[in-house]
């Protein structure tokens, strides 16, 4: 069970969302989502498959456009940014994709270099190489540096994906199912990594998951996405101390067989 991070700054919101709606053709995915992410906080978003969790963070990072509602990230309204402003904002957001999304025509090193070459132009090649070594060490995969993504296991790909987003020291991290499909021990590694990132860089993070062990290990606060809205909000106990059948089902699915 995680101890809530004492460094959360409740006066400062990294992300503020009000009345967010999103539909694909006639299919309403998000029906008025409100969310606050405080500076330095790990927020876990729970929800069944297809409830729109990935859509939510894609809207936050500007990959998808909201139909209506306000999405304010680090004080900027993402709906109305020019592409230059959007890029500047995106450098402060790290997005770890559900399927890792490593560039599969490049080696691990080139994957990590990709954002550096373009956005840390002041760095020398030596500094870049050193930084890559440090980050790879942090995710425990120094030996994979010259491998191609196709030669890595799913868990390794996930960690490289997280390393690639961490390399520019983002202020906000968005993790899309960081532990899905991994063995329990690798899960613990990734949970520790997420907490470590929060502690060391004071990042604010949204962690999407349906793995309650992970949710309990990394979340300072949990919200649950049900029917296109956030219905439960609070610590792990507060969220699951509910008579709502859907919440109970979610809990039982994880902790009984």
């Amino acid at each position: 069970m995680k101890k809530i991070n004492p460094n959360i700054n409740r006066d400062k919101k990294a992300i503020e969302i009000r009345g967010l709606q999103k539909a694909f053709d006639d299919f309403e995915v998000l029906k008025g989502v409100d969310l606050d992410l405080y500076q330095g906080e790990n927020l876990v978003v729970l929800g069944r498959s297809g409830t729109g969790k990935s859509v939510l963070i894609k809207i936050i990072s500007g990959l998808l456009k909201a139909d209506s509602g306000i999405v304010n990230v680090l004080g900027k309204d993402v709906c109305c940014l020019t592409s230059k402003e959007m890029d500047a904002l995106r450098l402060k957001i790290g997005f770890s994709f559900q399927n890792s999304a490593l560039y599969d025509s490049m080696t691990v090193k080139e994957n990590l270099e990709f954002p550096l070459v373009r956005h840390a132009k002041h760095m020398t090649q030596k500094e870049r190489d050193d930084l890559i070594d440090v980050i790879l060490d942090a995710v425990g995969l120094a030996q994979t540096i010259d491998q191609m993504p196709s030669e890595l296991s799913g868990g390794q790909r996930k960690r490289i994906g997280i390393a690639r987003t961490l390399i520019l020291r983002p202020e906000i991290m968005l993790y899309d199912e960081p532990t899905a499909g991994l063995d329990p021990i690798t899960c613990i590694d990734i949970n520790n990594l997420i907490n470590e990132v929060q502690r060391r860089f004071n990042t604010s993070s949204i962690i999407i998951t349906h793995d309650l062990t992970c949710a309990r290990a990394v979340g300072d606060r949990l919200v649950m996405l049900l029917d296109g809205q956030f219905q439960r909000d609070g610590t792990f106990e507060e969220v699951f101390n509910s008579e709502d059948k859907r919440v109970k089902a979610f809990y039982n699915y994880n902790f009984t067989d």
Binding site: D26, F27, E28, A88, Q98, Y103, S105, F114, R118, L168
Partner: protein, 272 residues
């Protein structure tokens, strides 16, 4: 998800179609193609330039196509010459063979064959590669890391095909002529010098210009179609296969249409 879908069945249709669902889609697709091409012309001039990627793609399109293109061009030169001989021989006009080969290969066969072969090799691989990057969210990953994926992927590839296919065309034309020469030399004992002086007598500057314009157009088409299909490929592995496949089919179709159009224009210029 299922639950919400069922709920939606009872709701009134939100989206209204102007003509019909199909026609609207078709016009939307046309607009998307226009927007895609327009975006290319906008971004190709704006910095930052991805030189490294452009060079890499030029190598991929140009150098890696050489073996296939060489063999094909050479064989076509030989076969075309060999098959044309009897009809000229009927009139005792085999001396005109170099001129015939020259006109046929430089005006039509060279550019067309190069384009068709590269659209099969390069077009499909561009479609598949970008398609799989779309499907596995690599394009999204690029975008959220504040790198313009359009510039990195599309602009570099379209530039590469637009530059390299004319270069390949020149090369294949030469090789096809050489194949033709070998066959002529074997049968009519024409020397290399005589052969090529007859070849160049038969064509005009306009022919060279027309062929160059055509091959630039073909190169642009191959790159653009592959990128468009890949960039807009639908989700799933099926989408990748479809992107690769339709890239080739569409590019080939467009190449023939362009061939026809350019021919008309050139004939008008010639005053025929």
């Amino acid at each position: 998800m299922n639950q919400s879908n069922n709920n939606n069945l009872n709701e009134p249709q939100k989206r209204k179609y102007v003509l019909s669902r199909r026609l609207d889609r078709a016009f939307l697709e046309l607009y998307n193609i226009y927007a895609f091409v327009a975006r290319f012309f906008k971004e190709v001039f704006l910095p930052p330039y991805e030189f490294k990627e452009i060079i890499k793609q030029c190598y991929e399109v140009g150098v890696r196509s050489l073996p296939l293109v060489s063999v094909t061009a050479f064989i076509i030169g030989i076969v075309f010459t060999n098959q044309s001989r009897p009809s000229l021989a009927d009139f005792g006009a085999t001396a005109l063979l170099p001129a015939l080969i020259s006109v046929a290969i430089i005006r039509a066969i060279g550019p067309l064959v190069t384009a068709i072969i590269t659209s099969g090799r390069v077009g499909s691989s561009i479609g598949a590669e970008i398609g799989s990057m779309r499907v596995t969210e690599q394009i999204d990953a690029m975008e959220v890391s504040a790198t313009n994926p359009f510039k990195f992927l599309v602009v570099s590839r379209v530039l590469a095909t637009t530059f390299m296919i004319p270069a390949l065309t020149m090369y294949t034309t030469l090789l096809a002529l050489l194949g033709g020469y070998l066959n002529v030399h074997q049968n009519e004992q024409t020397t290399l010098i005589t052969f090529f002086s007859q070849v160049f007598e038969a064509i005009t500057f306009l022919d060279i210009v027309a062929s160059s314009v055509k091959s630039v157009l073909f190169g642009f088409t191959i790159g653009m179609v592959g990128c468009y299909k890949g960039y807009n490929s639908s989700k799933g592995t099926e989408g990748v296969g479809k992107a690769a496949n339709t890239s080739v089919v569409t590019a080939m179709f467009l190449i023939f249409v362009e061939e026809l159009l350019v021919m008309q224009v050139i004939n008008a210029v010639r005053g025929i």
